[in-house]
Symmetry: C2
Subunit: 133 residues, 2 copies
DNA sequence: CTCCTTATTGAAAATCATTATCAATAATAT
DNA sequence: ATATTATTGATAATGATTTTCAATAAGGAG
């Protein structure tokens, strides 16, 4: 662990949310102006490989990163994305039913298509309260 | 409708599948070498706006387009994507349950977050039969 | 602590998909 | 047939992400 890496992880943990590389870069820069954008990209990649961060693409052309809170069992969630301001909301309310269905579908698909399924995506898109006005 | 547009639509209808702009470009080129990649992009966009094509992003960094078969009522499907060769499979088998759940979740989310939900994504990712070897 | 080997960094250039520009050409209306 | 508008394609621009590579920082052996 180096200074740059610690700061980058710290920003994603502290600021929370779903930050793009550029947003992380801007935040880290304030405390440590010598960081390069490249290091930010590299570190975010690294932390994603290590399953410390989750990398998402919500369709606005930039990847977004989010801290994985491994120990908290109630952390499993899906996303609700505003296509106007690109804000992202986590929801946990309907997760149980969704997970149940996903598991079932996954089993069916694996068998039928002989796929080794590793991941799934459920997301909702729309306009957030602000952006509807 | 112009020559270029007809050919582009024809390629997506005939070749089927989930083609990227580049793939469409290559196919159209064979019959009509003067087409520009730009026209392909423009036409694919246009046809997507018109709801003739569906545009998807499956996470390999390029958009993919698919014909919408409006009249066939059993066309509603979701996708299974191979993260190695990027091939895409449609499945329709478990759709009914999924749609039911999505509708319910959508209603709940709209109310809770005051979102105007316009779209959703359910996709599965993994390795296809070939790529497992 | 000092030298040495390896890992990490940052600046600048390269990539890749997609978009914008703009003059030339093709369609369509008159 | 001509005027008006829409479509085209070559080229250049964009924006996010990667690569390259020399400079710097870390960590370990003596």
């Amino acid at each position: 662990m180096t200074v740059a890496r610690e700061l980058i992880l710290d920003v994603v943990s502290t600021k929370g949310g779903h930050l793009s590389a550029e947003e992380v870069f801007d935040a880290v820069r304030k405390q440590y102006p010598r960081v390069g954008l490249v290091t930010v990209y590299r570190t975010l990649d690294l932390l994603s490989e290590m399953n410390v961060l989750a990398r998402h693409e919500f369709g606005d052309g930039r990847a977004r990163y989010e801290l994985i809170r491994g120990c908290e069992s109630d952390d499993h969630h899906h996303h609700l994305v505003c296509t106007s301001c690109n804000c992202v909301w986590d929801y946990r309310d309907f997760i149980d039913d969704e997970v149940r269905l996903l598991k079932k579908t996954e089993a069916g698909l694996s068998k039928k298509f002989r796929f080794k399924i590793t991941d799934h995506v459920i997301e909702f898109y729309g306009l957030c309260e602000k952006c509807q006005k």
